[in-house]
Amino acid sequence: MSRNAFNTPDLTVGQKLLHIHWLFVILLCLTASIGLSMLYSAANGNLDPWASRQFARFCVGIIVMLAIALINIQIWMRYAYLFYLITLGLLVIVEVAGNVGMGAQRWLSFGYFNLQPSELMKISLVLSLARYFHGASIDDVGRPTHLIVPLLMIALPSALVLRQPDLGTTLLLVMASGAIFFTAGVRMWKFGVFFVATIGAMPVGWQFLHEYQKLRVLTFLNPESDPLGSGYHIIQSKIALGSGGVFGKGFMQGTQGHLRFLPEMQTDFIFTMLAEEFGMMGGVGLLALYGLILVYGFAMTLRSRNQFGRLVGAGITTTFFLYVFINIAMVMGLIPVVGVPLPLISYGGTAMMTLLIGFGLLLSVWVHRDIMISRLGSNEV
């Protein structure tokens, strides 16, 4: 097989670069450029303070992504558990000595940048779960005792992130992990049991929610109950979206955004601004772009000839999907307000880094798609 000859770990850097899925990279750049123009609009036609800095971050991010893509997938697999443990350690440190921002303890300050270990955990958890299920046969997956370790893998960071408190990230971690469990072949009925158990635990869980989280849920159920208080964001967001109509009010012509009725328009509510200025056409267009990224991500995942790569791909694409869905559903008032940014568009470095690292891994899966790895980790070729 001539293919095999190409796709050995011994490929040169130049050969690997040729194998990167460039169309996928272009789609990412296209999405990011839409984000930059929205940030330009949000600043009333200024590159400062958002667009220019976001562009710099994106450039750094793309380089990091390409670098990750070139690293052999087996190396990522080898260090998966180590990454996980380090990230878990960082989460513990945040718990003890993190910086408080927006009422939650999330950051570790490192002088030049702030590290948010919960974001890193989104990647590390996918890697370590993928490695665990790579090593498990179909029969193993069928045995409930075999699921104890991966469940613990999820439970530990989830508990820590929930304590920060960051409900959005916790949900993202649990759901992305769920996708890996699902594609790894865990029996359907077990999901059913989990689902029922979750519903049953809800009244108990409600007690542990913070006041502001309870308020968000209540506000979601009836935003008009307090139109100037907690319901304000979502009402204004719906007004902005609705008033955009089919074709929108035009670039930089959004009244809700530019007259500051719309809160946080450069971060969590940037989709609203886009849909106000470009209408449903703009909104559907962006969704189509996201859809394409997901389709290519899905295709790259399916082509991998090793379970680890496939599971990593499923985890990453699902994480990406969850970002998109949760953010857009939130700004449209379909789900409660949770602080999840719109991938590649919202202003902010942390989420962008997480995603570009994730896409780096996805590209690595693609570049090294023909490497077969035994359940124990050695090359099978």
Partner: protein, 636 residues
Amino acid sequence: MHRDTERHKLFTRRALMLAGGKSVLMAALIGRMYYLQVIEADRYRTLADENRINLRLLAPRRGRIVDRFGLPVADNQQNYRVLLISENTRDTEYTLDVLAQIISISPAERRRTIRGIKRNRSFVPVTIRENLGWQEVSRIEVNAPDLPGIFIDVGQSRSYLYGADTAHVLGYVAAVSAKELTGDPLLELPGFRIGKAGIEKVHDKALRGSSGSSQVEVNAFGRVIRELSRNEGQPGAEVAVTLDLGLQRTISKRLEGKSASVVVIDVRTGDILSMVSTPGYDPNAFNRGLKTAEWKSLTSNPMSPLINKSIAGRYPPASTFKMVVLLAALEKGVITPSTKFFCNGHIELGGSKFHCWKKHGHGTVDAKMAITQSCDVYFYEIAKRTGIDRISAMANRLGLGVKTGIDLPGEKTGLIPTKKWKRGALDLPWHQGETLHAGIGQGYVLATPLQLAVMTAHIANGGISITPRLTKFVNKQVADKKNDPALLQKSLGINKAHMTLVQESMSEVVNNRVIGTAKRSRIKELGMEMAGKTGTAQVRRISKVERDRGVIKNKDLPWKERDHALFVGFAPIHDPRYAIAVVVEHGGAGSSVAAPIAHDVLVAAQRRNSIGTSADTNDKNQRQHSVGINKTIESL
């Protein structure tokens, strides 16, 4: 290998299911987008506009009030205010320090300004001081470069140019009270003023005008981004009153220190040329907002400065009522002009004595002599023969006991008693003695100065019905065409010969240099001579003991117990145009107190030619004529 292929297949199957699930969720997002942006788009578009568009009312300029010659009496004054926008200053405290070196700022004003700045967003202007003088304004303008964030704003405030002189007629404007809110948003504008009394109240709607509006785009913090559209509205209409400002002020000055009322009326049209009630008050103070102490001193003053005595003061007309009694008697035919009665100083009825003001009597008097000397006995006799109900009917026809219909709020009806009235109001039968009291304008009889002026005007014009009015024009148009007095020439239906007799008798009162009760107030100027009737209204009972001992002189009584001095009259005799009523509360005798005032006022009115600019050529000729006479007199 085999196991892995199986795993791969399972993965592919599961991954496709997952992708399917994601597709469904994506489709849900698009569906939601369709719902919001297509189905509900119109609703949200309206909501977005409601968010960003603010409708601001622009208060219209209140219409001016001018006198009959077009001289402004109530106007709007530029009110210069100095304001500060804190976001435009580098340092608010420093800027205030600099400003304080240019104009004086009291610590209280400074404190209020700082509080205002803290309470509002930084782009909201805060007033530092109002009512700046012109010098202060120019000093601030010159120093503008050193005063960033400071600017001058011009507002409008109502100003009554002649203060107390016109206060009772014009009324005043003041802030809208909660009870007066009608839902008209204009009334809710901060600082908006509405008419609370007088002409300001009667013509409030017209004077107010209609509000303009400005549509502005605001951001979420209320900052105005730009103006989208502007509608200036309609400024208030100008109202011309029938007053002759010059005459009004002359009278006001003449009455200084007295609690009195003078009404001057055009006997042909009913135009009120002057209506003065003293003491007055400063209507500008109401606009500014009264202090408690000011309010207390106004309400506790025994001379009641807040009351317009001309329409709301009710006084016994006393002898000024005798013309009514005479006309009623003549009409009933109980006497003829030549019927004579003998006055020996009193008349007895049912065991009571009714006294004439002249202790030893007037001797034999006919109608003209009775009016000239104001013989009470003569009127006791004819009142007794005429009966109260006929007297009352005549009084009503002449304008007493009924509202005159003047265009001012708060007019009082006065009281003209009838038998029926007494039974209804007091549940008592009428006594003939009460008819005698009414015959000399005492007892139950009460009239307002305006009613007395209208009565006199009716006599002076020979019995043509008039309605007194204060509004000449609203926005240069006759306010109420139907009631334009120039077009109405309705007769009261009183015998012309009787009227002439009464007019002649009234002339004798002033011009009979021997026995006329008002002979000392005769107008000597040729062509300006007046006719009239004095009245002295008793406000206390004189007991028999006192009468025997000698009635106490007015000046020895406390103010509240002194007689009211009255005089009604008209001029010129040869072609009456002006009718007047003078009432001086507790002023003493009509002949010595009220008649001289009437003399001065009627001379002034004719000299000024208060009726003036009539299109009637007769009027013009007459004016030239009277001016000629004035010159002759002056040259003498």
